[in-house]
Symmetry: none
Subunit: 252 residues, 2 copies
């Protein structure tokens, strides 16, 4: 189970935090590290010293340009986030995250990504809206910003406890059937947005959080691959109607 | 409760770990730090930088010569320890520690000390035998030595969770907003089915469980009233396209 939990660091600027993250991961039995557009070198004296023997994870880390590339194959993407955002998103505690993991990872094809943002500014709203849920580590409201490696340590600790305690139960049939991957979901959202523009319902110039609300609704349902195929079929049929309607418009 | 939990570091040799400990403590709402015979200066550029704004705790830390002096007033002393020692001692998990704290600290005079040993050698047997119990953070047996500040972070996190327990959690913000009623959902499903017929995607004569699958998907998301209104707006826009497309069809 632990080998299918990926830690994703976005735009990290301090090598020491990458090393500290590697040590925290290895201490808890995690090994899959992805670095998205790091703002510093991953391998430095500081990162190797903070890794304290776990620097292999930094050497093996996948470095990619975008969050998409880091989580495309993941069936559950959870973003580490401070509390309230303009658009509330499903928010879970680290303990709730842990309790969900055994079932989330019951399917041997399933992968979970835990996404951590920049030391200074965290995750952008666009990044947060690509997550199924947000996890918030309860902190002192007067001093809430955790060190990056410390935040990874807490979530990795909950992952390990869940692995030590958890037993996959096949009670939940929904999570048993094949869930859509992040990439499949993003293709659907792109198709949905194109279609809403085609039928004149959505104006990208004045989005009014429309796509964000539709993302939140859809991600909450944890769509199965087959359900996504049905929805995309509906979008295609809708686009055909729009083409015929506007196509006829084109004539004088 | 949190103000009566003391973090005790014995023989620390790296200032950065003292600063990291202060940050982890302040993040979790702890403030009482004691340093026993530190092997380094507590206030250095490295410790202040790792404290990242929590260096007040380092300045306020009590520096003493012996464990006795650091925990004399404590009613419960728990030592952070790797597992098996020559002489087995009451061993608790971090979670068990947290669950005991409210009762341990019910008496307003009570104080709890969490004792952490040296980076290289941990706590001596003599120090461990001055503890009521030992707490072990479960780790990867192949890489079990946690960074000192990371170990403090995990136990301080469990302390905070124990303190927060019983309060209404503000996780799961989504479910707070108004859910659609059964009647509203049925109106939506009727509207959805009409629209799917209008665009030629659904044939009631050969339904292929289409509506059942769309119901299951939608109900799983527990739609909010506002989300359902957006979806119905999309259906209406889709129907308008279909009318224009087929309306033109009607002409000879």
């Amino acid at each position: 189970m632990l080998d299918r939990i990926r830690i994703v660091l976005i735009g990290t600027s301090h090598p020491g935090n990458i090393g500290g993250t590697a040590r925290a991961m290895h201490n808890m039995g995690l090994s899959d590290l992805a670095l998205v557009a790091p703002r510093c070198k991953a391998i430095t004296a500081d990162s190797v010293s903070r890794a304290s023997g776990a620097d292999r994870l930094v050497h093996d880390a996948r470095v990619v340009a975008s969050l998409e590339q880091a989580v495309a194959d993941c069936t559950l993407v959870v973003g580490a986030s401070a509390r309230s955002r303009t658009l509330p998103w499903p928010m879970i505690t680290p303990r709730q995250l842990g309790s969900q993991l055994p079932e989330e990872l019951a399917d041997p094809e399933a992968h979970v990504a835990l996404v951590f943002g920049r030391e200074d500014s965290g995750l952008t709203n666009a990044e947060l809206q690509r997550c199924h849920a947000h996890v918030h580590i309860p902190t002192n409201p007067d001093f809430s910003s955790l060190n990056l490696a410390a935040a990874v340590q807490v979530l990795a600790y909950e992952c390990r406890l869940a692995w030590l305690e958890g037993r996959p139960s096949d009670a939940d049939t929904a999570s048993a059937s094949a869930l859509a991957s992040h990439a499949e979901l993003e293709h659907y959202f792109a198709h949905l947005e194109r279609t809403l523009i085609d039928i004149g319902f959505h104006d990208p110039a004045t989005p009014r959080q429309l796509m964000a609300r539709l993302r939140r609704f859809t991600l909450r349902a944890r769509p199965e691959r087959m359900e996504l195929n049905i929805l995309r079929g509906i979008l295609t049929a809708t686009q055909q109607q729009a083409e015929r309607a506007t196509g006829d418009d084109g004539t004088p």
